[in-house]
């Protein structure tokens, strides 16, 4: 996997380079906008990590150029600007995700893997959490190697949760994405789907955050409600 890191800060750039290389990812680190454009012209990348405040220009211009050229390379913005307006500006211009400095290494790695997988696995990826595996192309779900029969809504729900492993997805968001007719406060259709899903894939995968939403944790933590 090829990652382009555009970051002008010496220590941060170097730290990110070493940390990601430790994870077995190959990475090219440039410190200027001009160098980044040159690198993008010379070979394809699976992911761009982009700092916004660069000495020779704004990272957003690189993003804009990338998208204008029809490039679908995922872009993860790394920035010190955390105001909502700034975040929206980045996402509006076609960034795929956003990480506000300072960030934890684990967070960076998990976002990088998620985005890189997306760029990689267009043909059909396999999401795995513990003994649960989901094949996007074939819409097959296996638990410990045994196939589980899921309805379309159940499959959509599970794939949303598995794509964003470790992140709680709100009821509202799940209802809007999965249920026909969108979110409705009164209905418990979502709960019914989740309970069916739990019955089919087994307990211990989908964790409830009461009143908030659901999450699939990469590691099972004992003592948590399942």
């Amino acid at each position: 996997m090829n990652i382009l890191l555009v970051e002008d800060d010496l220590e941060l750039g170097n730290g990110v380079r070493i940390a990601l290389e430790d994870q077995g990812l190959s990475l090219l680190w440039v410190r200027r906008l001009g160098d980044a454009l040159q690198a993008l012209d010379s070979k394809p990348f699976d992911l761009v990590l982009l700092d916004l405040g660069l000495p020779d220009g704004d990272g957003l211009t690189l993003l804009a150029r990338l998208r204008r050229d029809g490039e679908t390379t995922p872009v993860l913005i790394l920035t010190a600007r955390d105001a909502l307006a700034d975040r929206l500006a980045g996402l509006d211009r076609g960034a795929d995700d956003y990480l506000v400095k300072p960030f934890a290494l684990a967070e960076l790695v998990s976002r990088v893997r998620a985005l890189a997988r997306r760029s990689y696995g267009m043909a059909g990826e396999t999401l795995e959490v513990r003994k649960l595996a989901l094949h996007t192309a074939t819409m097959r779900v296996t638990v410990d190697g045994k196939a589980a029969e899921l309805s379309r809504s159940e499959f959509d729900l599970l794939s949303l949760l598995m794509k964003r492993v470790d992140r709680v997805l709100t009821r509202r968001m799940l209802e809007e994405q999965v249920l026909p007719g969108g979110a409705s406060n009164e209905s418990n259709v979502l709960d019914v789907h989740i309970s069916n899903l739990r019955r089919k894939i087994g307990p211990g995968y989908i964790r409830t955050v009461r009143g908030v939403g659901y999450v699939i944790d990469r590691q099972d933590a004992s003592g948590d409600a399942s």
Binding site: D9, E11, L12, N14, G15, V16, I18, A19, D22, L78, A80, R81, D82, A83, L84, V100, K101, P102, F103, A104, L105, A106, L108, D166, R167, V168, L169, T170, R171, R172, N185, V209, R210, G211, V212, G213, V215, D217, A221, G223, D224, A225
Partner: protein
């Protein structure tokens, strides 16, 4: 007493103006009085030919008509004389009363009793001044056109005596004494009404909240207030500019801190994965934790500055659902909760539609939930709820942590204040941010004990 009265009158603009008006009235009255003295000294109106001539004609007509009946004539003249003395209610004052002498040829047929007695006058048809034994008199004489009858009207020639006599009866002083109180009240009222813009101007200044530095609206419409309102506005503008500089300095500084913080953290974490020695790892974990604390402090400082800026700029509001926002924030913070083995729960009984700044409310909810997660014991639950209350919405956050002693409730909202003797690291900015956002949204903030008298329950009532 007098000093106090003076202080009251002179230290108040209304007092000064009323005093000035009263002084003016007094001055006018003195001038009028002076003119009266001068005028009285110059001539006696009653004996001016214009008024005295018809009077003399009337008396002479009576004399001519009763020419042959001396008894009747004497009685008639006496009655006229009494009438004349009473005419201006002055019969008892020799200085004021008017007397008369009537002659036929050289024979006196009637003379008023008392001074000055029968005077001999020379001039006819005009005012004449005479002196009898050093006393001045003024007279007017007229001759009948059909007989030898002649009448002489007499009044005192002492100008000062007349004035003092009038004064002693209050004719001159009384109107002033009576009218002054009636003048003071309308004067005071009118001055107050005229000064109303001034009061409204001070009311506007008074009603200002300390962080509202927009120019004053009132006062520029009045020429007298304009310099003051301009000066105040200039001061406000300077204060606003200096606050803006301070804010942007802190915001810039916080911003600049983030990149090195990120570098520090990523380097330490990368190093940690290279170390197997548990003691090394422990030390590096300490580094990661302090860098995380510092990051949080920087984020809060930025949040607070942004919140101040939002307040100063009256940033845009939108209609948003508290239920959706709280759900979203809890989802975002559930990682932190899981790390500390805290279970989050939201009981949303209403959608909670409010007008607010998304950013401010987000940081308010984040700070409350982060605090709850931080202080709640591991394995416990943090509960949030949303319910309609009256016409508003009640949002609560409840944990089972140590709570906040009641006597510190007022202080915990101060910036950088931290409850003493607590193991949890923190900046003391979280609740300050919560308070700032709450105030901006007209939200009532309450700190209570948790359900079993344990922990902390924060209640926010949205209007």
């Amino acid at each position: 007493m007098l000093a106090r009265l003076r202080a009251v009158l002179f230290s108040s603009l209304v007092g000064r103006l009323v005093l000035a008006q009263m002084a003016l009235v007094l001055l006018l009255w003195v001038a009028a009085f002076g003119y009266l003295v001068y005028d009285t000294a110059r001539y006696d109106e009653i004996l001016e030919p214009r008024l005295a001539s018809p009077r003399a004609d009337m008396i002479l007509a009576v004399v001519d008509a009763l020419y042959d009946q001396p008894d009747k004539l004497a009685a008639a003249l006496k009655r006229i004389d009494v009438f004349q003395r009473r005419e201006s209610n002055e019969e008892d004052d020799p200085a004021l009363r008017q007397t008369m002498v009537v002659r036929k040829g050289d024979r006196i047929i009637y003379a008023s009793p008392g001074e000055p007695g029968p005077l001999r006058t020379q001039k006819l048809g005009q005012l004449e001044r005479l002196e009898v034994d050093g006393t001045p008199w003024r007279t007017y004489s007229q001759q009948s056109e059909v007989s030898d009858a002649r009448v002489t009207l007499i009044r005192s020639g002492h100008t000062m005596k007349i004035i003092f006599a009038l004064g002693s009866r209050g004719i001159l002083i009384l109107p002033l004494l009576i009218s002054l109180p009636f003048l003071v009240l309308p004067a005071w009222l009118s001055v107050r009404v005229a000064l109303r813009p001034w009061r409204r101007f001070s009311e506007e200044v008074e009603a200002r909240s300390p962080d509202d530095l927009a120019p004053l609206k009132f006062g520029s419409g009045y020429r007298e207030l304009r310099p003051l309102s301009k000066a105040v506005n200039q001061l406000l503008a300077r204060v606003a500019a200096s606050m803006e500089r301070e804010r942007s300095f802190i915001a810039d500084a916080a911003h600049e801190l983030r990149t090195p913080l990120a570098a520090m953290r990523i380097n330490v974490e990368a190093l940690r994965s290279h170390r197997d020695n548990p003691r090394d790892q422990e030390l590096l974990d300490g580094l990661v934790r302090s860098s995380a604390r510092m990051s949080r402090l920087v984020a809060q400082l930025l949040g607070l500055m942004r919140s101040d800026a939002a307040r100063a700029q009256n940033s845009t509001r939108e209609r948003l659902s508290l239920a959706a926002l709280v759900q979203e924030r809890l989802a975002a913070l559930s990682g932190l909760a899981r790390e500390r083995r805290i279970e989050l729960e939201l009981r949303a009984h209403t959608e909670g539609l409010v007008d607010g700044e998304r950013e401010g409310l987000t940081s308010m909810i984040d700070n409350l939930v982060e605090n709850a997660i931080k202080y709640a014991p591991a394995g416990s639950e943090v509960e949030l709820g949303l319910i309609e209350q009256g016409s508003g919405v009640l949002l609560w956050v409840e944990d089972t942590g140590p709570g906040i002693p009641e006597d510190l409730h007022a202080r915990v909202f101060d910036r950088f204040y931290r409850v003493p003797d607590q193991p949890q690291p923190g900046s003391g900015l979280g609740l300050a941010i919560v308070k700032a956002v709450a105030e901006r949204h007209g939200v009532t903030l309450r700190l209570l004990r948790g359900a079993d008298g344990q922990g902390l329950r924060v209640e926010l009532v949205f209007p």
